[in-house]
């Protein structure tokens, strides 16, 4: 089943957290990115975020910036993102787009929603809009049956968590730390507190991202969240690869390590 609600129903039944993996489309090439995402699925990733490369990614740290710059230099565009979604969604895992707002607005919000839906996409994670600015997207996603994943942050007031979760569907993306994407050594205590505060406002699944890179961190987060989101660590695996085949191997084994992590501790109580 390729819907997000279906995924979380299943992972809850299995007593574990879901594993969500991110890679930008078009890095190192359009085909190379698709191959890497398929390897993530083989390794045990439950849902894929396809990053839409953007020239000014102000929520991303150096690792993802480097990958996205290379994707843009080699000409990756929004059409390639949709093709990537189509190829990954065929595997049956929920496939989302993670994007900054301007490329979607420029493509046309309605057109983007329609083509994403046709490609088999599940929804969009919007990095730089909050529900207040998302009017056109709320309408289009409703019409196309797409999930809209908004972020909550440690700095979000309870009132804002309520506003954001009320507009969200699929799951809520809880940013584990104040900052940009990129691997960090430890899981911040703020992550657990934010999940608890969010849990008080919504019945939607809550997934934690930003800074998660290892199986042990995934295991720690799986104790209190419904899902673990990993991005920069997968990108780094590709950046450090000695060959395309090596990159695929690294991505697959990282996925397996993280999957073991989300399975060790059981799901949220």
């Amino acid at each position: 089943m390729s819907s997000l609600p279906g995924l979380f129903e299943r992972t809850r039944a299995e007593g574990r957290a879901a594993l969500i993996g991110y890679l930008p489309a078009g890095f190192p090439t359009v085909e190379g990115a698709i191959d890497a995402m398929l390897a993530m699925v083989e390794g045990g990733v439950d849902a894929i975020e396809v990053g839409l490369p953007y020239s000014d990614p102000l929520l991303d740290g150096p690792t993802i910036q480097a990958a996205v710059d290379r994707a843009l230099q080699s000409g990756a565009n929004t059409g390639d993102v949709l093709d990537t979604v189509r190829a990954v969604a065929r595997t049956g895992v929920p496939t989302m787009v993670m994007s900054y707002w301007n490329p979607i607005e420029r493509f046309g919000v309605d057109r983007f929603a329609h083509e994403l839906s046709e490609a088999g996409g599940s929804g969009v994670i919007t990095a730089d809009i909050t529900p207040e600015e998302a009017g056109a997207w709320l309408t289009a996603s409703e019409r196309e049956g797409l999930d809209r994943i908004f972020l909550v942050a440690p700095s979000s007031s309870d009132q804002r968590v309520a506003l954001t979760t009320a507009a969200a569907s699929g799951f809520v993306y809880a940013a584990a730390v104040m900052g940009v994407t990129g691997a960090r050594d430890q899981v911040a205590p703020a992550a657990r507190q934010l999940v608890e505060r969010t849990r008080a406002q919504t019945t939607l699944p809550i997934c934690v991202g930003l800074g998660v890179s290892s199986g042990s961190q995934a295991a720690e987060i799986a104790q209190f969240a419904d899902g673990v989101i990993v991005g920069s660590a997968f990108v780094r695996a590709l950046l450090e690869a000695e060959s395309p085949a090596d990159g695929i191997d690294r991505v697959r084994s990282l996925a397996a390590e993280l999957r073991a992590g989300v399975e060790t501790q059981g799901g949220p109580r």
Partner: protein, 414 residues
């Protein structure tokens, strides 16, 4: 350059953004959720400060005793001979401490930083004027200061990098993207979202997420408030036109704001035309861009058909930015102000003219306004009175100008 001077509609009442920072479809807050709390805190602090007599008095005292306000008006008679005889009144923001209008905004925001109990300031800078002004205010008020500057710009503006360091600021050379102003803003935003609990981001122009466009405009409106009275005192009437250059647009909003409700006063904003809008190498967002979202606001943006930001180009680093303040986008759309490009060559011709006729070396940014004013003067005729914002001085541009005009600088070791 060509100016359509018949496009200015009568103003509708009110030029302020709505309570969420929108001017029509422009403006707003397109930011990661993590920054919303800081923007709410800033909005509240600013709303409180702007009506607090203590804050107003402290800022006014600094403007008078530190910046050197009010800045004078110079009646540029010899320059006017080249503008069809129209009277040209220069608002001398170049005479401010640190050399441009940037200090007006920085002092206001640095005082706000203290009010919010924050101890660290970050800023972006292109040419270095806003960075120098921010480093200055931080030295004055005892705030820690980090300035983000594109690596390309740190090479082009080494003197301003040294100034900032002398003033005690840390300067971070930004190596990402195009290594220019837009990338410096990206990195400043990344720092802010990471360190927001003790850090205020002093954005240098009238763009970015709400409340920045409104707040920066209000700290800059002193330019127009002073100038309106100065022109009335000098001429007995209002000017026929107010002219400014527009990068992000803070000096222009600063001088326009006092005249928005004077429907007989024409407002002109001149953007960087670079090599010419038709070449694609320019920073003319109104003529060569389209509505989009950049750096937290919806405005006119230079972008490709996929919504990727296209690098801008100008001989003037201060105008070399692919976005523009959202209120300018609104004034453009409503027709209240007229925007037109000025090429590098036109700006440098005006630069030389101001040097030779008035004994003022202007910033190349401000030379764009002068070039536009020469055309506006010829269009409006010899009876017209033009108020031109001379937003900064050209010390920082001497090397660029010497190179442009082929002046040998070998003996100076440059």
């Amino acid at each position: 350059m060509s100016i359509d001077s018949h496009s200015q509609a009568a103003p509708s009442a009110g030029y302020d953004a709505d309570s969420t920072g929108h001017w029509g479809r422009f403006g707003g807050r397109f930011v990661p959720e993590a920054l919303v709390a800081a923007l709410d805190e800033l909005t509240a602090a600013f709303e409180q400060a702007r009506t607090d007599p203590d804050f107003i008095a402290t800022l006014a005292h600094l403007q008078r005793t530190y910046t050197g306000r009010p800045s004078p008006i110079t009646d540029a008679a010899r320059l006017a001979e080249h503008a069809g005889g129209a009277r040209i009144l220069l608002k001398r923001e170049d005479l401010n401490h640190t050399g441009s209008h940037k200090i007006n905004n920085v002092l206001g925001q640095a005082l706000l930083t203290q009010r919010m109990g924050k101890t660290r300031v970050i800023a972006e800078t292109g040419a270095g004027q806003h960075g120098v002004a921010t480093a200055t205010a931080c030295a004055l008020l005892g705030l820690e200061c980090t300035v983000y500057m594109g690596a390309e710009d740190t090479r082009r503006q080494a003197l301003n990098v040294a100034r900032m360091k002398l003033l005690g600021a840390e300067v971070v050379a930004v190596q990402t993207g195009s290594q220019t102003l837009k990338d410096a803003i990206n990195d400043a935003m990344r720092d802010w979202v990471t360190n927001v609990d003790r850090t205020h981001y002093i954005l240098g122009t009238v763009t970015g997420p709400h409340p920045f466009p409104t707040m920066v405009r209000d700290f800059q409106r002193v330019i127009g408030d002073e100038a309106r009275q100065q022109v009335l005192d000098l001429t007995g009437g209002l000017p026929d036109a107010v002219v400014a250059c527009v990068g992000g647009g803070s000096n222009a909003m600063g001088i326009f704001t006092a005249f928005l409700d004077d429907s007989d006063v024409r407002l002109y904003g001149f953007e960087a035309g670079g090599d010419g809008v038709e070449t694609g190498r320019h920073a003319a967002r109104m003529a060569g861009g389209s509505p989009g979202v950049l750096h937290g606001t919806r405005t006119y943006v230079m972008q490709d058909e996929m919504g990727q930001t296209v690098p801008s180009h100008s001989i003037s680093a201060g105008l070399d930015y692919p976005g523009v303040g959202p209120q300018h986008a609104w004034l453009h759309e409503t027709g209240r102000a007229t925007y037109a490009p000025v090429t590098d060559a036109e700006a440098m011709a005006a630069f030389e003219l101001v040097c030779r006729t008035e004994g003022i070396i202007p910033a190349i940014e401000s030379a764009h306004a002068v070039a536009g004013a020469l055309q506006v003067g010829r269009d409006l005729g010899p009876d017209a009175v033009l108020l031109v914002n001379l937003s900064g001085r050209g010390d920082k541009d001497v090397e660029t100008a010497a190179s442009w005009f082929g002046i040998a600088t070998e003996e100076g070791g440059a």
